[in-house]
């Protein structure tokens, strides 16, 4: 007889759906089926079952092949690498639990590392803007129940956050939105005709790299100041019409993604979008929210913020926290040769970073802690497989609207495989010994 585990959270994207149902075999070892998840979420659970999964740490040999080593040896290598480095980079943290992040930060503080998470190539610019001008935000529940003006700016949830629109933003029937999408007007701003743009009431096909101008233009329109004939390829009348649509709602929300955070103007785009949101509050209620990617990148920002005061790119090398993306951000550090060891947990920079940074990781002493074989594990000196958070071990995670949700364990990890927390705790203890003997 199989049994069903309900209210499982999906550890894939920032939507952090919490209504999954997983059917597991009687012995609690095998996942048989998954209900309610989208295709990418279901795939994550199925990956944990892959027969070719690595179950023991592997050390890269001079000829490029891998040799299986024990967890003890892996702990020793990792601790020594961090102990010997003058300025190690500890990157990732977005696909693990807050508990693991916290142990990682303890290690980082000890060895004077730089802690950076995937926001550095994603919503880090958002965090810079938030620090500069603040942010009026809300929870996804409020949006479901109240929002009738939905703006997707530079994001494509149809593909990146597949259940976002059905659970929260476009289709659900909420307390004050009892006609579902009939109650809502959807505006999409994107240079491409994405699947999200196709279901919008208004699509603003902004010129690439001109989001900052268009955001400004909406603000100018709200103040009834004169506008040029076209801004960012959009005719003036359309901009004024859009401003009217936003103003006329009862509750509006701007969701934005990497189309604006990582295109020309970066943090300034978000800065201006936040200011547009503030301006709109002169007329109606408006909020703004980042479409965070990894399921717990928000949690990494939370834990870092709580412990050190900054949400990413935190430089602890001099014993106190410093933060200046552009200097203390992973790609700048790697590209410029500012770090002498790399520890990666819960992310895949080998796949996401520019090749100049990836080459540096390959040259330096490096450890990759990841359940999967990834481009990063393939270039790291040591690959440490661990249990899947949210599948084989629980832990705390933060949804994109900064709501903490406890991930659940559904099956046991393979025999003998450590969790992130267990591995980090052992490295931390070994560092204590090494430093005590200094």
């Amino acid at each position: 007889m199989s049994k069903s585990v309900t209210d499982v959270i999906c550890p894939f994207c920032g939507t952090l759906c919490d209504d999954l149902e997983v059917i597991v075999s009687d012995d609690g070892k095998k996942i048989e089926d998954i209900y309610n998840a989208c295709a990418i979420g279901a795939e994550k659970f199925m990956h944990a079952q892959a027969p070719e999964r690595v179950k023991r740490p592997r050390m890269q040999q001079p000829d490029g092949s891998y040799k299986e080593v024990s967890y003890d040896e892996a702990v020793e290598y990792t601790a020594r690498m961090l102990f010997n480095a003058k300025k190690p980079l500890m990157y990732g943290w977005s696909s693990t639990s807050c508990e693991a992040q916290s142990v990682g930060h303890e290690i980082a503080e000890k060895v004077g590392a730089i802690v950076d998470n995937t926001a550095t190539v994603c919503h880090g610019t958002t965090l810079i803007a938030v620090q500069d001008v603040g942010i009026p935000s809300c929870t996804l529940g409020e949006i479901k129940n109240r929002a009738d003006r939905i703006i997707f700016w530079g994001c494509n949830p149809c593909h990146a956050h597949p259940r976002h629109q059905s659970r929260y933003s476009v289709f659900p029937r909420g307390f004050f939105t009892n006609k579902g999408h009939m109650n809502r007007k959807v505006i999409v701003v994107d240079p491409r005709v994405t699947d999200t743009a196709k279901l919008a009431d208004y699509h603003y096909q902004v010129e690439q790299g001109r989001d900052y101008e268009l955001l400004s233009a909406f603000r100018v329109a709200l103040r009834n100041e004169p506008l040029p004939e076209t801004v960012a390829g959009i005719p003036r009348e359309k901009i004024i019409e859009g401003a009217e649509v936003m103003k006329s709602g009862r509750f509006g929300i701007i969701f934005f993604g990497m189309g604006v955070t990582q295109s020309l103007s970066k943090n300034h785009n978000i800065d201006n979008a936040i200011m547009l949101t503030k301006d709109l509050n002169e007329f109606t209620k408006f909020s703004i929210m980042a479409m965070r990617g990894h399921y717990n990148v928000t949690g990494s920002g939370q834990v870092l913020g709580w412990q050190f005061g900054y949400p990413f790119s935190v430089d602890l090398s001099r014993g106190f926290a410093r933060y200046n993306p552009g200097e203390t951000s992973s790609n700048d550090l790697l590209r410029r040769g500012e770090v002498d060891a790399v520890f990666v947990l819960g992310s895949d920079p080998g796949a996401h970073f520019p090749i100049s940074s990836v080459k540096k990781i390959a040259e330096l002493p490096s450890v990759c802690v990841d359940p999967h074989i990834t481009p990063t594990s393939e270039i790291s000196k040591l690959h440490v497989p661990v249990a899947f958070v949210g599948v084989e071990v629980g832990g705390n995670c933060y949804r994109m609207d900064n709501v903490p949700i406890e991930a659940r364990k559904v099956v046991d990890p393979p025999e003998g495989v450590l969790t992130d927390v267990e591995f980090l705790t052992r490295v931390n203890a070994r560092l204590d010994q090494l430093m005590g003997g200094k």
Binding site: D132, R223, S317
Partner: protein
């Protein structure tokens, strides 16, 4: 005026944080004492003497102290940080944060400077003969008070985000700048003698920006007012004056709305 000459002899493997290279720190010290001043390479606290050959001694006060930095300092950060008086001459190109939070005195760089040069500057004169990186004379992350006083002159080109959150003082770039000139600017003057591609004066509340060359794409919130003759950097010239950013809040003074001013050379 006493001169201290420091010459790079051992390149740091990583980058050197040398915020003690300033007349304020060298004043009243002998060469051996200067060599013992702290510097940081990663988490390791070391001394300036490990990396630099030091000759001469500091004057009685910062104002009496002149520092000449010789050799390849492309991996040295924070030269001239918080200096309040005296003079620093860097013969080659230093790394980031050159002249950061500078308060007075004179800082001359014969080469180019990397990003974050002159951030949060309050006073003094900062001359760069080569190019400058991004965030020249900008605010430090999260600070809403950028450059407040003093003069930065760059003979070459500058990167993006110059004068971010600028409040006072003057930045002159003889060449071109990259995007985002004077974003969130509240006061002071930025002069770009070459071209500035786009996003010039976005979210600007007050202050003045002069562009001699072309702007490819103007921000939508700037409205033409009139042509005006203005004296800039010692020369009079005719400019078209625009008021902006009209998408931004603007304070009133004597019943009049105060705008940021963008001058385009005619």
């Amino acid at each position: 005026m006493e001169t201290v000459t420091i010459t790079m002899k051992n390149q740091p493997k990583l980058y050197l944080e040398a915020d003690n290279i300033s007349p304020d720190k060298f004043a009243g010290k002998k060469a051996s004492e200067i060599a013992a001043l702290h510097a940081y390479e990663g988490r390791e606290q070391t001394t300036l003497g490990k990396y630099f050959e030091i000759a001469g001694e500091g004057g009685a006060t910062a104002a009496d102290t002149r520092i000449v930095v010789k050799g390849d300092v492309s991996r040295v950060k924070y030269i001239g940080m918080k200096m309040s008086a005296g003079e620093v001459l860097v013969e080659q190109s230093p790394d980031m944060y050159t002249g950061a939070w500078m308060q007075g005195g004179k800082l001359i760089v014969k080469g180019s400077v990397d990003s974050f040069a002159g951030i949060g500057m309050k006073g003094g004169e900062f001359l760069v003969e080569g190019n400058a990186g991004d965030y020249l004379g900008a605010a430090y992350r999260g600070d809403w008070r950028g450059m407040q006083g003093g003069l930065i002159r760059v003979k070459g080109n500058a990167g993006s985000d110059i004068g971010y959150f600028m409040n006072g003082g003057t930045i002159i770039v003889h060449g071109n700048s990259d995007v985002h000139v004077g974003t969130h600017m509240e006061g002071g003057r930025i002069i770009v003698k070459g071209n500035a591609p786009s996003k010039v004066g976005g979210q600007m509340v007050g202050g003045e920006i002069f562009v001699y060359g072309t702007i490819d794409v103007m921000m939508p919130g700037f409205k033409y007012v009139q042509d005006e003759e203005v004296e800039v950097d010692g020369e009079k010239a005719l400019f078209a004056l625009y008021h902006g950013d009209t998408g931004e809040r603007h304070p009133k003074r004597k019943g009049q709305i105060v705008y940021g001013k963008l001058y385009l050379k005619i």
